[in-house]
């Protein structure tokens, strides 16, 4: 008989080993999947994990990794802080959309004004929009005890509807011949978020993501608030004795993760995406949850996990292009990653022992 015995303390070795093991298991299981579909599994795995970095077109795809990873890292950094405190913001997708809308609203309202302060004002509006959308579940939890998991998730659908309304109504491009979608901010110099150095893919969102990694690391390991967050997550009762006020913590975590998601939305809509459409939410807010857990809720882990997920997206496209793998198989592949991660996670908190039965 196999028995699971809880560990006294989470194993440090397994903390680091489980993500690596999960990636390895995903490669093996994914390889089997590709093999049963009649593709060479080694070639498929190489196309997904190797070619975007070192293959033929890597000069283009490497910078694209940053473009794809930046919003994931930015959002996941905020989410991880709440997750550490046991505050579950599942609605980053909605906060991302609202940040994009409020940020773009500033630019669209002032079009065609050119001013140096326009882009900073848009960033501030993006942060504020995401923050406000995150504060709704926070206040509902603090005032009425509503589950922030459900409320934040439901607000994603509300945000999607608002985006559709904006794209078809108030923000519709007056020169768009009646078609939905706002003006393209890429063609509005003061409002655009272009590549800072040509060929690197790095826009302000990439800079912000790097900054978020540093700032959240500092917060969690050096700041008293970080201590409170960790205490609230591991021992809520003890945390109260240490002076943690749960309501403040809920508002802080949901507000912060909302603001970062909102900023990610703004950087995306002013940069790579360019315009408000009914489909500005492309799932970064949900994928960021995978990134946060894959990165063990640790800033450096999130950085690596964000890059890894970006790699599977871009590699997945290459695999479609060069090998004809269907898009769904790549999504299955990403699902496997989370599945194996959560499965192996057991090992950090439990030991496997064999029980001798008579």
């Amino acid at each position: 008989m196999i028995q699971l015995v809880p560990r006294q303390n989470a194993s440090n070795l397994w903390q680091i080993a489980t993500p690596l093991l999960a990636v390895l298991a995903t490669m093996i299981a994914g390889g089997l999947l590709f093999a049963t579909m009649g593709h060479n599994p080694v070639a498929a795995i190489r196309t997904i994990f190797w070619d975007p970095l070192f293959g033929m077109a890597s000069g283009y795809s490497r910078p694209q990794l940053l473009v794809k990873a930046a919003p994931l890292i930015l959002i996941a950094s905020g989410l991880a802080i709440g997750f550490r405190a046991g505050i579950w913001n599942i609605g980053a997708e909605g906060q991302y959309i609202m940040g994009a809308i409020t940020g773009a609203a500033v630019a669209l309202a002032l079009y065609p004004l050119e001013a140096w302060w326009l882009f900073p004002a848009m960033v501030a509006a993006g942060l504020a929009g995401g923050w406000a959308w995150g504060m709704i579940p926070a206040l509902l939890r603090n005032w009425f005890g509503a589950s922030e998991i459900l409320v934040s998730l439901m607000l994603v659908y509300v945000a999607q509807r608002i985006a559709a309304w904006m794209a078809f109504g108030p923000m519709r491009n007056p020169q768009g011949m009646g078609f939905p979608g706002s003006r393209n901010l890429q063609q509005y110099p003061s409002a655009s978020n272009p590549e800072l150095i040509a060929g690197t893919g790095a826009h302000w969102g990439v800079v912000a993501a790097a900054f978020a990694v540093l700032a959240t690391w500092f917060l969690m390991s050096r700041h008293i608030r970080g201590f409170h967050i960790r205490a609230a997550g591991t021992a809520p009762r003890a945390a109260r004795f240490a002076g943690v006020r749960p309501a403040v913590l809920v508002a802080f975590c949901l507000g912060l993760s909302g603001a970062l998601a909102g900023a990610a939305g703004l950087f995306e809509v002013a940069g790579p995406a360019g315009q408000i459409t009914d489909r500005i939410g492309v799932g970064y807010g949900f994928t960021a949850i995978i990134v946060a857990f894959l990165g063990r809720l640790h800033p450096v882990g999130i950085l690596l996990a964000g890059l890894l997920l970006a790699l599977t997206y871009i590699g997945g496209e290459l695999a479609q292009l060069t090998m004809g793998l269907p898009a769904a198989s790549v999504q299955v592949f990403q699902g496997m990653l989370l599945f194996f991660l959560l499965g192996f996670d057991l090992l950090t908190r439990y030991q496997i022992r064999r029980r001798i039965t008579a």
Binding site: Y60, S61, F168, G178, N184, G199, Q320, T322, A328
Partner: protein, 358 residues
């Protein structure tokens, strides 16, 4: 600094590599990006049938690849770039939301030709193409007007954009022509493909006493609901023959093959030129699926006669006298609508009491 130069050089090299002079005996590479999966049974499926028709027509002289389920926005730009870098010389982008990404990528790859479906922006190397779906709507609207017992026709709209509004108006005009008591109920689902929402919309219409359902969404869910309620409907985008003879009494099929074959031929001949194509029943791009035996012979004959008149160019579905819903005159006696008017259509014709959502 060094790293920056390295990356810049690498991308410059890529650009050079990606544009080799096409040798005479090398196959022409043709790429596609799809907004949905090829197995959606509707819009994307029909475009992929067009791709297969290219392969069947040209054999070894062409090589086709596709990337499916590409979100509109930043991801589309990357997918298009990857197709161009992989050496595709003709690239079809088959969704409206790919418009700005196509224009951006086309600027960077002047020797690659792009074809964008349903958009309005062209360039030296970007052509657009669309189909006159409203011609087909006139035919099935005629059938609907004859077939309804309750005099209530339901219409499931995707998005309130000109293409869909043309379809609603065309259906209504021709239903009312054969049945002056016809009313039209319209429900918007804000999606091109969402079986659950489409089924809900169909049920809402059926509950209002509608007994003929028309749809501008791609799933078979409305037909399934119509079947359960004893109502009838029409196949959309593809034939949906599995639901014949009832509830599917006919269908409106998108057939992109003629256009795709024509454009590939032009590439092979070196005669490709930018332009805007808007072809209909006459060119075989809009096809009326078999009219089933559930439709009386005389109605069938009338519908087919209308189809043939449109195909021959003898009849335009938008021929005056026609008023707008607000009572103002749109087309005088005998006047036909201009293409420019149709492409920016954002009003209902007189007799439709619903409002277009803004």
């Amino acid at each position: 600094m060094q790293r920056r130069t390295l990356l810049a050089t690498a991308s410059a090299m890529m650009m050079a590599l990606a544009a080799p002079v096409l040798a005479q005996d090398e196959p022409l590479k043709v790429g596609f990006i799809y907004v949905g999966p090829v197995g959606d049974g509707g819009w994307t499926y029909q475009h992929d049938q067009g791709r297969l028709a290219i392969e069947a027509e040209f054999g070894d002289r062409v090589e086709t690849t596709f990337i499916e389920s590409v979100p509109e926005g930043a991801d589309a730009e990357r997918a298009l770039t990857q197709l161009a870098l992989a050496g595709n010389k003709l690239i079809f982008a088959t969704s409206f939301g790919f418009m700005d990404p196509v224009i951006n990528v086309a600027q960077r790859f002047p020797d690659v030709k792009f074809e964008h479906a349903t958009g309005y922006k062209t360039a030296e190397n970007v052509a657009t193409y669309d189909a006159r779906f409203y011609e087909g709507r006139a035919v099935i609207g005629t059938i609907a007007g004859h077939m309804t017992q309750s005099n209530k026709i339901g219409y499931i709209g995707s998005f309130p954009i000109p293409e869909v509004i043309q379809g609603i108006n065309s259906s209504f005009i021709h239903a009312r022509k054969v049945n002056p008591d016809v009313e039209m109920r319209i429900v918007w689902v804000y999606s091109w493909f969402d079986p659950a929402k489409e089924a809900e919309a169909a049920n809402a219409l059926l509950a209002e006493g509608v007994d003929v359902i028309m749809q501008h969404t791609d799933s078979t869910a409305p037909l399934a609901q119509a079947q359960a309620a004893g109502a009838i409907g029409f196949g959309q985008a593809s034939d949906m023959a599995a639901f014949a003879p009832t509830p599917r009494v006919s269908s409106i099929i998108d057939d992109w093959s003629p256009y795709y074959i024509k454009r590939v031929q032009a590439m092979l001949d070196g005669t490709w030129e930018s332009g805007s194509s808007w072809a209909g029943i006459g060119d075989g791009e809009v096809v009326i699926g078999e009219i089933s035996d559930a439709v009386p012979e005389n109605v069938k004959a009338e519908a087919l006669a209308l189809r043939d008149a449109i195909a021959a160019g003898e009849y335009h579905p938008f021929t005056g006298p026609l008023n707008k819903a607000d009572g103002t005159v749109w087309l005088a006696e005998g006047e036909t609508a201009s293409d420019a008017d149709l492409q920016s259509m954002n009003f209902y014709v007189e007799g439709i009491t619903a409002q277009i959502p803004q």
